[in-house]
């Protein structure tokens, strides 16, 4: 009897949160899946069931494969660099020194700014001729650049902005984790004669693993989720060289109004994200806890 009542209690308590999560996450996700099996309604032509036709089109769509490839490069390029930078910055500002609060704030500032504002700042940096980068390079007699206007450099230019924005955010997590490591461990190691590198590699890094897992999952999600800066910097151009999957979904759904194909692309994104998150949990979860 007691057990049964607990069960009701539990469900009652989580019901509000569950309702919201179903209303705004799971039901729309299922509707997207359902919508991807129909054609896009166009004025007088209502939508009709097309089965997997949208998925066949997706497989033959070169733009889809291009943005997927871009997204892979984007993720592989931004995640390790921003995480390494975050850890380095956290280690730097974890030691006592004068102006530490100022340094911490400076590292964190890019995170506080909205991505759109960040993109506008960087747009000024990148502007050929009179942008900041070209002005600085000009002092050394270098010619002008056009990072956003060339197919080879547009995507890396976008990635730099993402790293700049993300590293400060991840630093906060590392900083908190570093402060939770008992200092006795390092002291004991020192007595044993361990150097700074050994302490870092054998004590700090392993103890930071749960944080690293958390940060890496967030980083993967963000690599697919944050596309605001593309609107400002390149609009996905030139010729989709800097377009990412979510940006392509937006274009398809709200510029071309091809909502059914937009839903199909969203399903792919959803599946991809689920796979990545599950993969990370299962692969790493067993290894991250220091026992």
């Amino acid at each position: 009897m007691k057990i049964k009542r607990d069960w009701i209690w539990g469900w009652t308590l989580i019901a509000p949160a569950l309702a919201l999560i179903f209303l705004f996450t799971h039901i729309p996700a299922l509707m997207t899946l359902w919508g991807s099996l129909f054609s896009t309604p166009r004025g007088r032509k209502p939508s009709h069931f097309v089965g997997l036709a949208n998925y066949e089109r997706l497989i033959q769509d070169p733009t889809f494969w291009k943005v997927l490839g871009n997204n892979a490069i984007y993720a592989l390029g931004t995640i390790p660099v921003s995480m390494a930078l975050a850890l380095a910055m956290a280690l730097l500002v974890n030691r006592p020194f004068k102006g530490r609060a100022l340094a911490r704030m400076a590292y964190f500032t890019p995170t506080v700014l909205p991505l759109i504002a960040v993109a506008n700042i960087w747009l000024f940096f990148y502007t050929p001729g009179f942008g900041l980068i070209d002005q600085v390079l000009g002092l050394f007699g270098a010619g002008q650049s056009n990072f956003l206007g060339n197919a080879g450099t547009a995507l890396p230019a976008i990635m730099v902005v993402a790293i700049w924005k993300e590293a400060g955010f991840f630093m906060i997590f590392y900083l908190a984790a570093l402060q939770a490591i008992p200092p006795q461990l390092a002291e004991a190691a020192k007595i044993e004669g361990a150097g700074a590198w050994t302490i870092f590699r054998r004590i700090t890094l392993p103890l930071l693993m749960p944080t690293t897992l958390f940060v890496s999952i967030n980083a993967v999600i963000n690599a697919f989720r944050l596309v605001d800066h593309i609107f400002i910097l390149t609009g996905g151009g030139p010729d989709n060289a800097s377009s990412l999957l979510l940006y392509y979904i937006y274009e398809t759904s709200f510029r071309f109004w091809d909502t059914a194909y937009g839903a199909t692309l969203s399903v792919v994104l959803l599946a991809l994200m689920c796979l990545l998150a599950i993969g990370q949990f299962f692969l790493f979860d067993r290894k991250v806890h220091y026992k």
């Binding site: 502007t127 060339n150 609009g235 151009g237 989709n240």
Partner: protein
């Protein structure tokens, strides 16, 4: 007793509140975009205020909706949700898309009689080309533009060119461009001859080149494109050559928004951009500048551009009639003159140019007349069914050619094949 009294007075208050409203107040929503800098939004809001003062029975809610892209997205989203505004300004090229989605109404049904007919016929034919379909008028030209060439007279003088003579042909533009391109001691270019911006929507300025080469991009019905025709390929090759062969234009994709600044900073001696930038140039250029028609190859030519008024389904006849009256008023010569003066958009009716306001304005600033005179050579802007997508194929092809990813012809052939696939459904 007291309760009764309170109830009674509350009812009376409610009644008087209803009575205070004009008997037949018509509410209108009006979405508009702003694509050029300056006080364009304020001017529109100011004009709306004036109208409401003279017409207390109409209440108009002008909503600044962002860029053209943002505006059309908001309008379509609202319309699909059953809350369409009555009036919106959107790109003239969105006409087929809005028609396919069954969202808009023809003006002919509401601007009735001789007077209505005269009003619709009073616009420049070049602007009506992508405002009418199947004998009906779906768009009323408002913030319409056309690209022109701006040139820096000081730079022309320094290069030993006549500062009063802009290039008249493609070849002249290259020759002059070569004289105007300056490099410093270490071989870096400090001033480019010409700049034809290519970010975002390169197809627009490119269409100018296509018309000049004697070609066209579509059949005007929105069902056929000619992206791989010889004239289109010739135009694209010329554009690419400006950077790669003639070296008179900065290579890569050139930003649209930074173009006026680039001109002011003397980094480009000639720029192609919209006449909608005219007031900005006039107020901010630190040197004397000229405005010219785009140079010719086989003929003069330029696309039209900019936004039309659209009338949306889903409102009462009373609202729609009030909406059309307002649009008639705001496009009338006096109001249209105020708008043109504030922004530089081309006044879309010959009658506007005959007002005292415009005559005075043109006397002090004759450059405004260039865009008007170019209209006789202007053609409708690229517009098809599923316009945004089909146009994007051309944009991508141009970007690929400009950045050297693909040879010109190959890129355009691919774009044509993709456009054919989409448009087949409408033929």
């Amino acid at each position: 007793m007291l309760a009764n009294f309170l109830k009674g007075s509350a009812a009376a208050a409610a009644l008087s509140l209803i009575a205070a409203l004009p008997a037949s107040a018509v509410d209108l929503q009006f979405y508009f975009p702003v694509a050029v800098g300056g006080g364009a939004a304020k001017t529109i809001e100011g004009l709306t205020e004036t109208y409401m003062k003279d017409h207390p029975d109409v209440k108009i809610d002008p909503i600044y909706a962002g860029s053209y892209q943002d505006t059309i997205t908001k309008v379509i989203t609202a319309a699909r949700g059953g809350n369409a505004p009555q009036i919106a300004v959107a790109l003239s090229t969105d006409m087929f898309t809005l028609l396919d989605d069954d969202l808009i109404l023809p003006f002919d049904d509401y601007a009735k009689g001789e007077e209505g007919k005269k009003w619709i016929e009073g616009f420049y034919p070049a602007f009506m080309e992508n405002s009418q379909f199947d004998g009906k008028t779906y768009g009323i030209p408002f913030q319409r533009s056309t690209p022109v060439l701006y040139w820096n007279k000081d730079a022309f003088k320094e290069a030993g060119l006549d500062p009063e003579t802009p290039p008249a042909t493609w070849d002249e533009m290259v020759e002059m461009g070569k004289k105007l391109t300056k490099t410093d001691a270490s071989g870096n270019t400090t001033q480019w001859g010409v700049r034809i911006p290519s970010s975002g929507f390169p197809y627009w300025l490119f269409q100018g080149l296509v018309i000049e080469a004697g070609g066209k991009l579509t059949n005007g019905e929105g069902t056929e494109t000619y992206f791989d025709s010889p004239e289109v390929i010739e135009a694209a090759q010329y554009l690419v050559d400006l950077s790669t062969k003639d070296k008179v234009m900065e290579p890569g994709i050139l930003d649209w928004g930074a173009t006026p600044k680039d001109f002011f900073e003397r980094r480009s001696a000639m720029v192609w951009t919209t006449t909608g930038n005219l007031t900005n140039m006039h107020d901010n250029a630190p040197f004397p500048f000229g405005v010219a028609m785009l140079p010719e190859k086989a003929q003069r030519g330029a696309p039209t551009g900019g936004g039309n008024f659209y009338l949306f389904k889903g409102s009462s006849d009373e609202q729609l009639e009030a909406a059309v009256k307002f649009i008639e008023w705001i496009t009338a010569p006096e109001q249209s003159a105020i708008w043109t003066k504030a922004t530089g958009y081309v006044a879309p009716r010959p009658a506007t140019w005959d007002t005292e306001t415009m005559k005075d304005y043109a006397k002090g600033f004759p450059q405004v007349l260039v865009a008007r005179d170019q209209l006789q050579y202007a053609k409708a802007e690229l517009s098809t069914h599923e316009n945004q997508r089909v146009t994007q194929f051309l944009n991508d092809a141009l970007a690929a050619a400009i950045t050297g990813q693909k040879p010109v012809e190959e890129a355009l052939k691919e774009a044509q094949a993709k456009a054919d696939q989409v448009l087949a459904a409408y033929r």
